[in-house]
Symmetry: C2
Subunit: 231 residues, 2 copies
């Protein structure tokens, strides 16, 4: 089937992959950078671990709960806009008709071409509202249950990503050795993560890997400098 083949070519990763990417890229980067930064200011690994754990708790809740509420708000927004469109289609049909006409006009169609399309869309009230929702407002119907699943995936990915750089500080007592191990382990993890992310999102894998390593490295370097300067 050529159509299926065609669709697969455009595949850019599902929503779960997107959520894992969101959670893990920040989870691997920020706790890593914070921990590395603190080694420029303190000498005890337990402070680095405490700060890192507190950051993971704060970051995963902020991202997960923030994502959950944003998805809930999107859903409420969608339903209130839909009610408004139904109201407008009933109360000011001439304005709504003009909006459909304008829409096709901006897509380069002539008035003779537009008339039958507009009449077809207007023939059904629900179809008309669906059309306005999707093409005038650019709103897609949100999937039920998505908010909770998304929040959980993002938060868990953040926690897993954040534990990778912290593990060295938990297991190794010497703060310099812990730092070097954490940097090596996390840059490797960022490289693998960026590579896999690149493959899933259709980006060049090596380019994806370079980008995530670059962000993590710059963030950690900046955090280290700031911590050393002010301590």
């Amino acid at each position: 089937m050529p159509t299926t083949h065609h669709v697969e070519n455009h595949f850019t990763g599902g929503e779960m992959v997107r959520d894992i990417v969101i959670g893990m890229s920040d989870g691997l980067t920020v706790p890593f950078a914070l921990a590395a930064g603190l080694t420029g200011a303190v000498t005890a690994t337990h402070i680095v671990v405490t700060a890192g754990m507190a950051e993971i708790a704060a970051g995963s809740i902020a991202m997960g709960l923030g994502g959950y509420l944003a998805a809930r708000t999107d859903m409420e927004h969608y339903h209130s806009e839909k009610l408004r469109e139904y109201k407008e289609v009933d109360e000011v049909p001439e304005i709504e008709t003009q909006e459909v006409v304008d829409f096709f006009r901006t897509h380069g169609m002539s008035d003779e071409e537009i008339t039958p399309v507009v009449n077809a869309i207007k023939a059904d009230r629900h179809r008309w509202v669906d059309f306005m929702m999707r093409f005038e407002l650019g709103l897609e119907a949100p999937v039920a249950g998505r908010a909770r699943r998304s929040a959980f995936t993002i938060a868990l990915s953040y926690i897993i990503g954040g534990l990778i750089p912290l593990l060295s500080y938990i297991l190794i007592n010497n703060i310099q050795t812990a730092l070097y191990t954490s940097v090596a382990v996390t840059l490797a993890a960022l490289f693998i993560f960026g590579y896999v992310k690149g493959r899933f999102t259709g980006l060049n894998p090596l380019k994806g890997a370079t980008q995530t390593v670059l962000i993590g490295g710059l963030a950690a370097g900046a955090a280290f400098l700031i911590a050393r300067l002010i301590s």
Copy 2:
């Protein structure tokens, strides 16, 4: 003009407002929660300030640079998909025609209604590709220069948001007093921010304010508990 009025009703804030919201909601939440959390484990405010500053450096770079690269990737993805669509329209026009037909069919139009629309769209190669980009793939043309502007706005908002909770620890030496002041100042800032955000995004302002305060409070509480448990 009723159409302009109508559009304004649907206004949900520009892209800059969106970027400020993204940067500031995390900036107000995560450094706040980290600093509050650390007071459960350390007694010197300078460690809290150092960790907080390192977090702001790491978070603003991760969010800003991450946003920049994501926007750049979107732009590259858009252009490569557009080239692909041009190629497909030229090489397999019958499959692309069927996709336009299927698209209108899923929107409930009959074959007699579809034929003139499909012919109008196919009459111009660029219009045809634009149609496929927007409605088959749901891709909007990215705005040039947007990536850099967006990265800068997000990072700056994160820094400003993050400095608000840290100010108390910088100015007040007693860690308990600094904590209480930071909590009061930041919850007030989260409330105002959530209220303004609600107004800009069309959400109920009081609901927006309650949500941001809730996320910040929960994140800080969790960070505090974690830090106290492991220290």
